[in-house]
Amino acid sequence: MREYGTKVVAGVTPGKAGETVDGVPVYDSCFEAVDATGANASIVFVPAPYAKDAAIEAIEAGVELLVIITERIPFHDCLDIMPYARSRGCRVIGPNCPGVISPGKAKAGIMPNHIFKPGDVGVISRSGTLTYEIVNAITEAGFGQSTCIGIGGDPVIGTSMPEALELLAKDRQTKRIVVVGEIGGTTEEETAKRARRIRKRVYAYIAGRTAPPGRRMGHAGAIISRGLGTAETKIKAFEAAGVPVAGYPVEIATLLGSD
């Protein structure tokens, strides 16, 4: 992240105050770290059982942006973290995500630097590896990215796909937006609806076209999804909204090139 220009000013590990890692001072708590450095964003790597504690501590210490990389956090913990963050005016990205990057400017995440290039394509993705795949293809095709947001694939996330779309729609550097979805849930269908209302061109790819139907979540799952949530319904929703859908990941670059 520092290599990328992000000002990493502090680390927090309880009991390790006074140490330094690569020249970055370590503090016992987020409060002390924010007090000493004025940090306004925090990135959480701590293991799942301690992630909720770390997240709430960072929110209480006053950070405005919280990126949670940790995977396998019980979603009941996220049910507490997300509305609490919102009530304190803190934007959360993740969990279970690669983070967020504005190529050439800053990165709060774990994505590989070398595949990114500054440009005007915004990318929103539920999946880590697929993001890399598609970003790589975009860069190789000669385009670049404004901001890439890995929103994470968990049931309860801080910034949803439609919200991320709104954010990029408002961003001046972003001219076109690529949405990378997956089967399950109805967030892509909702994003497609939102895509109709924004002026920028949106492109989509949906992973899992050939996947067998997922496990049943009782009758409740069926009642909530109302037949939506499959690759087919998502692709249809995007196409109905005038969003071109790529057949395979790198085809996104071809679609960008043909417009």
Partner: protein, 318 residues
């Protein structure tokens, strides 16, 4: 984590939700004093056990043991029945529906209920299903139960019990890290009591560490989920499927591609894998990874290239 019916009932009971009386048996001789009349039910983690003959009625001890004997050892889907649950038969007047699950779109728990419960719940029109999100920071508040009671329009003595169960179901949902708490039917008995006729419970796998009490229960997991880290085991599992070619595709973020490649190399050598392996590994030090794999498999740069090589290899072309 899914639960056998009897176990789910046990947990519902713990939260004060009334469920039918029942006893568990693994052998017919163990059955001595079941509630009569009773339903003998196969304990499996899949649906469709009624159709498979895994649910039978009994009025006498003879019948109960006889039915248990025929159900135990039966195959239902991928499972062999090892346990039967003998459950009191309910004198049901009306079947309601109640569930709490996570609504991903709203990122909040969703309470759903209907006076038209039972097996056809999925075809009940949307406007006949009450749904309201539960704000997770404060939980079920009285307004929610008032709205529920109004929507279901049940007689007061029934509505009070349904509200009580809804509150307890939410306590269970939160307390047990559940993804789904579903009561279908929520049975209104002829004697006026309301009880969970059936109890479905799914717990978030990520929260297993908070529930060591369930660690010994049999799980319906695929082998891949058991231990995703170990390359060796992954290959072992793959090889069991008798593949004609193995395609490995990794696009790592901070993952060191060369470390992965070394792991793959070791696994391949150790396990004497004799099918072609096509590997496309990107990430930190991907050049080194390519070198490491060059001697043993077919390295590829892109996923498309890897897929083409794999198809060729599987049809004997490479």
């Amino acid at each position: 984590m899914k639960f056998y019916e009897y176990k789910a009932h046990e947990i519902f009971r713990k939260y004060g939700i009334r469920v039918p009386r029942g006893v568990l048996a693994t052998r017919p001789e163990e059955i001595v004093d079941p509630p009569f009349p009773c339903v003998v039910k196969a304990q499996v983690l899949v649906g469709g056990r009624g159709k498979a003959g895994g649910i039978k009625f009994a009025r006498t001890l003879e019948e109960a043991r006889e039915n248990a004997r025929s159900i135990l050892g039966m195959s239902i889907g991928p499972y062999t029945v090892r346990q039967v649950y003998l459950q009191e038969m309910l004198d049901i007047d009306q079947e309601l529906y109640l569930s709490i699950t996570i609504d991903r779109s709203a990122r909040a728990p969703l309470l759903m209920a209907s006076v038209q419960g039972g097996v056809d719940i999925e075809s009940v029109p949307e406007n006949r299903i009450f749904r309201m999100h539960i704000p997770p920071l404060v939980g079920v508040q009285p307004y929610l139960l008032r709205a529920l009671a109004k929507a279901l329009a049940l007689p007061e003595e029934i509505a009070t019990q349904v509200s009580d169960i809804a509150g307890k179901a939410y306590a269970l949902f939160r307390g047990e890290d559940a993804e789904l708490v579903e009561i279908n039917p929520l049975a209104v008995l002829k004697d006026g009591r309301v009880m969970a006729g059936d109890a479905k419970l799914i717990i978030d796998d990520n929260a297993e560490y908070r529930h060591p009490e369930y660690a010994d229960l049999p799980q319906d997991r695929t082998p891949l989920e058991e231990d995703p880290e170990k390359v060796n085991q992954a290959f072992e599992i793959l090889l069991k499927a008798n593949p004609s070619v193995i395609l490995l595709n990794i696009f790592g973020g901070i993952t060191k591609a060369d470390t992965v490649a070394l792991g793959v190399k070791e696994a391949l050598e150790e396990m004497h894998v004799n099918v072609p392996v096509v590997a496309r590994i990107k990430g930190v030090n991907e050049g080194r990874a390519r070198e490491i794999l060059a001697g043993i498999g077919h390295p590829a740069d892109t996923v498309e290239e890897a897929a083409e090589i794999a198809v060729k290899a599987s049809t004997g072309g490479a």
